[in-house]
Amino acid sequence: MSPLLSLILIPLVTAAFCMAGAAPRRISLFGAGANLFLSLYLLTSYNLEIGGFQFVSENILVPAYGISFSLGADGLSLVLLLLATLVTFAAVWVSPQGEKFPGMFYACLLFISTGAIGAFASIDLFFFYAFHELALIPTFLLIGIWGSGDRQRVAWKVTIYLALGSFILLLGLIGLWLAVPEGLRTLDIRLLQQLGTAGILTPGPVVYLLLLFGFGILIALFPFHTWAPEAYASAPAPAAMLHAGVLKKFGLYGLLRLVVPIFPQEIQQFAHLVLVLLAGNILYVGFVTIAQKRLDLMLGYSSVMHMGYAFLGFVALNQLGLGGMSLMLFAHGLTVATLFALCGEISRRTGTLEFSELGGLAGITPRLGLLFGFAAMASVGLPGFATFAGEIMIFFGAFAHGAGGSFNWFQTITALSLWGVVISAVYMLRAYRNIFWGARGSAIKDETADLSSGVRWAVIILIAVLLLTGFRPGLLLDYLNPVFAYLP
């Protein structure tokens, strides 16, 4: 059995066991751990010298359409697979014990994971899309059954919104497929990429816009972002970790995988549009983030805001920007996962996430405070964390557009985006100060417990990976750079 197939099947089978009701937490922890090791093994056994897609397996299912269950991974997918398995593992680990219907809870988590892993490992357009959609329903159930706040309304909204986005995306994908000259028709992403870079496949602006907005909705591109903060605020922490940390990356991955190789002209043609929208993500959503009075909402908005940087790398359309974008994908995934995990812990301990009721928590739960501090710093893009490396590459990549000596759109927006760095410091530090520092808040009790060792280690692993890749981005860039080597 091909290793990538096992990567998909392990969580699926584990989920089935969970549904059957056999010690779900232990089993899913085991499954997620095994998957993590498997993805690490894949990463190490990937041959960097040869590059390209490896571990390829193909099973043709529908010859008429060329639908085939094909798996394969290049550097980019491997990095994302690592992200997916890592966050899944952490999410399962931090899942609170004693949830209602534990079997289904863990099964849903693992289903989301399966969806993400499948999407990242597929080199067939159909399964690439299908796997992602698969994760929609577990999200719906997780928010609806185990969520907090206005969970029902939010679950509806998110699901419908994302479904709409997926369908727009689907239209774009169909358009893409139809644009392939007759006789070359294929759903193989590798071939599509080749056709795209060779200039044979030029689907035109309509398809580009469909894909852009389809993926854009999934990524929460301004102004299609309003589903995200609420969803993450209402979802139980592990679900938010998986969705914000992994599943949302599907959209970005799609942009990198499909749109970049096939639509270089269109990206340039519509660069101004995307630049304006991403400025909306960074500046407008940034300001909105500042106004939030609850940690979960604030984190949700901040995660939306950071997507603006990813889009900046995307429109830059050069090795540097796209490399930065993919690095940021990874880093942002880990960061938000960490933040949401800790956010869940805070809410479970104090029963509230309102800034006005919190304060001085670091004095009582120093470990929580320390780890949250690390995560917050990673989120504001502090050097030493992989987020910083990604952002730097994105900024340089985007700024490199146009001749030196004059300011153009790219450079203006890059400069404005840099202001986002200030904004993120403003809200993140305010949150940290309001929750962990200052006078004791009304919701804080003396007996409020610090992190249990389980959660602590899960979070420490995430932060350690962030630091490791931040100090040594080359670890990932070795995998990522060749993917975009055909670009300037």
Binding site: G323, G360, I392, M393, S406, V426, A439
Partner: protein, 602 residues
């Protein structure tokens, strides 16, 4: 050991110490202190060795970000005179402060955290000093900001400390915002992020002067933020919420000087840039220098007085960049200032500890007799600060002022008159704190601090006095002395004397409270209030507005609205389903009619 490794050890040892303390000794105060001090001492020792090995140049680089053929960011080490001197200054002062902290922080529950942050700071500062390219410098620049944030927020339970830390970080980020854009612009223009590469390429490139000016000034924004120049100076006085050794090390001697160091590092670039760049730098420095001096004379908190004096002195240094012939002019003042200002802060810390955390100078007095060592050291530092002849400060400061005479006469008058202000607040401080009768119980019962604290004072007092003499400084810098006419020097002396006399007239009698009341200055020219207004009203207002828009217009009107529209359409459509057979037949008939009309007659 291979001397080529020394710089790497210097750079990374503090980081290792920080990590070690954080993860291994999170509960052991004494051990943490010992590790911290030992590391600092090691680093200091190695720094001196590096300083003393002439011609040691490290060529090895660690590749950090590498996109083959497109972009690469190395972690590399630059070892020129500038960085060697800076290395020595930083590590020496730091070691003394590390030792001093062991005494100052005794009994604090957060000692491991303190030493970890302090070590982290040392790591970051050394990174700035050793950086051979802009991005590496920027990284450590940010890290310095973080460690400063952690240290200011050491007493995090205090709301004021928490707010101050947040403010310091945020304001620094504002500066970094410009800094980064400047880096990007210089990179785009020259194709390099290495200091050496930029300088080389500048000679062959012809840049649009406006672009070049903008780039340099944006880089200077970094200095404005880090070195607390107007208008981003507000964080520095507030940062006094941190422990006093922190103020001494970060907010007087080293970190805030990083901005000046940056300017000195890119001095060749500034020279190549249009003149307006250095003019602007000069003006910012001069205004900061004068305004901070004004604010300092009406402060009551001992550390705040020193903080404003720091801003003022940094202003001198920035002016030095603006008018000096070489970067060393400013670095000279940085060098002397590092010692005397650190000394002053440590003395203040000693007093504060002795007075049980009393910081108001109007609760002090008569400490000369009660804490003689501290007081004498403070006197030495104060005289150096005021620029009294034969003390280190006078040499470096006079040089800057004389360069200003040569290059910009208006600037000269501003910073020369700032000498008056310096003298005034320095002597005010010394007179009120050291002389007269104790104004409070704590002051009356104050005792000298322990050796672990006084020893660094004494050690620092020596360079505070002698660091300015050419026979001393000659070992460090080859300073370009200004060839200004003697009149300039006399004017400065005149201002100094005037300031001293004014201070003596006002404060020698030992008044119980400040005889001068200037609310405008006491309230720091209302700049803080302006920023408060900006943050709360403008930023807060905008963000609330944005949030409202997001919630009700984008989400409410557009998203939910369209969902509601669909729902409503469904609701209305289902109303067609009247349940009445006759209605159905009618609809059926109408449908037939429509279909036929459509088919046949259209």
């Amino acid at each position: 050991m291979d001397p080529l490794l020394y710089p790497w050890i210097i750079l990374f040892a503090p980081l290792c110490a920080a990590a070690f303390i954080l993860f291994v000794l999170p509960r052991r105060g004494v051990a943490a202190g010992a590790v911290g001090v030992a590391t600092a001492a090691l680093v200091c020792f190695l720094s001196w060795k590096v300083f003393l090995i002439p011609g040691l140049a490290v060529t090895a680089q660690i590749s950090w970000i590498e996109v083959p053929g497109v972009f690469s960011v190395p972690i590399g080490i630059i070892l020129d005179n500038l960085s060697r001197v800076m290395l020595v200054v930083v590590t020496t002062v730091a070691t003394l402060v590390f030792i001093y902290s062991a005494g100052y922080m005794r009994g604090d529950e957060g000692i491991p955290r303190y030493y970890a942050s302090l070590s982290l700071f040392l790591f970051s500062m050394l990174g700035i000093v050793l950086a051979d390219n802009f991005i590496m410098m920027f990284m450590f620049w940010e890290l310095v900001g973080v460690s400063s944030y952690l240290l200011i927020g050491h007493y995090f339970r205090k709301d004021s400390a928490a707010d101050a830390a947040k403010q310091a970080f945020t304001v620094n980020r504002v500066g970094d915002f410009g800094f980064m854009i400047g880096i990007l612009m210089l990179w785009l223009a020259t194709g390099s992020i290495m200091f050496s590469g930029i300088e080389e390429n500048l000679s062959v490139l012809t840049l649009h002067p406006g672009y070049f000016t903008a780039a340099c000034l944006l880089v200077f924004c970094g200095t404005i933020g880090k070195s607390a120049q107007m208008p981003l100076h507000v964080w520095l006085p507030n940062s006094m919420e941190g422990p006093t050794p922190v103020s001494a090390l970060l907010h007087a001697a080293t970190m805030v000087a990083a901005g000046v160091y940056l300017l000195a590092r890119i001095f060749p670039v500034l020279l190549a840039a249009p003149d307006v760049v250095r003019e602007v730098i000069m003006w910012i420095g001069a205004i900061t220098c004068f305004a901070a001096g004004l604010m300092a004379i009406q402060q009551d908190d001992i550390k705040r007085i020193l903080a404003y004096s720091t801003i003022s002195q940094l202003g001198y240094m920035v002016v030095g960049i603006g008018v000096g012939a070489t970067g060393d002019v400013a670095m000279f003042h940085l060098f002397t200032h590092a010692f005397f200002k650190c000394l002053l802060f440590l003395c203040a810390g000693s007093i504060i500890i002795a007075l049980h955390h009393e910081q108001n100078i109007w609760k002090m007095g008569g400490l000369l007799t009660r804490m003689p060592v501290t007081a004498l050291c403070m006197l030495a530092g104060g005289l150096a600060l005021a620029g009294v002849p034969f003390f280190s400060g006078s040499f470096s400061k006079d040089n800057i002022i004389e360069w200003a005479w040569l290059n910009n006469r208006t600037g000269f008058w501003i910073i020369a008159s700032a000498v008056l202000l310096t003298a005034l607040y320095t002597f005010r401080l010394l007179l009120v704190v050291l002389l007269g009768k104790p104004r409070g119980d704590h002051a009356a019962r104050a005792k000298e601090s322990p050796l672990v604290m006084t020893l660094p004072l004494v050690i620092l007092a020596v360079p505070a006095v002698i660091a300015g003499y050419p026979w001393f400084i000659g070992h460090f810098f080859d300073i370009a002395y200004a060839e200004a006419p003697a009149i300039a020097h006399k004017i400065v002396l005149g201002f100094l004397a005037a300031g001293a006399v004014l201070a003596a007239w006002l404060y020698l009698r030992g008044p119980a409270r400040d005889p001068v009341r200037i609310p405008l200055l006491a309230n720091r020219l209302y700049i803080d209030n302006f920023y408060n207004w900006l943050v709360i009203r403008v930023q807060g207002g905008l963000s609330v507005l944005g949030s409202w828009f997001d919630r009700w217009i984008i989400d409410g009107l557009v998203v939910t609205g369209s969902a509601r529209t669909v729902w409503g359409a469904g609701y209305l459509l289902r109303l067609l389903q009247l349940g009445n057979l006759q209605a159905y037949t009618f609809f059926f008939g109408a449908g037939v009619l429509l279909v036929l009309y459509f088919l046949v007659f259209r």
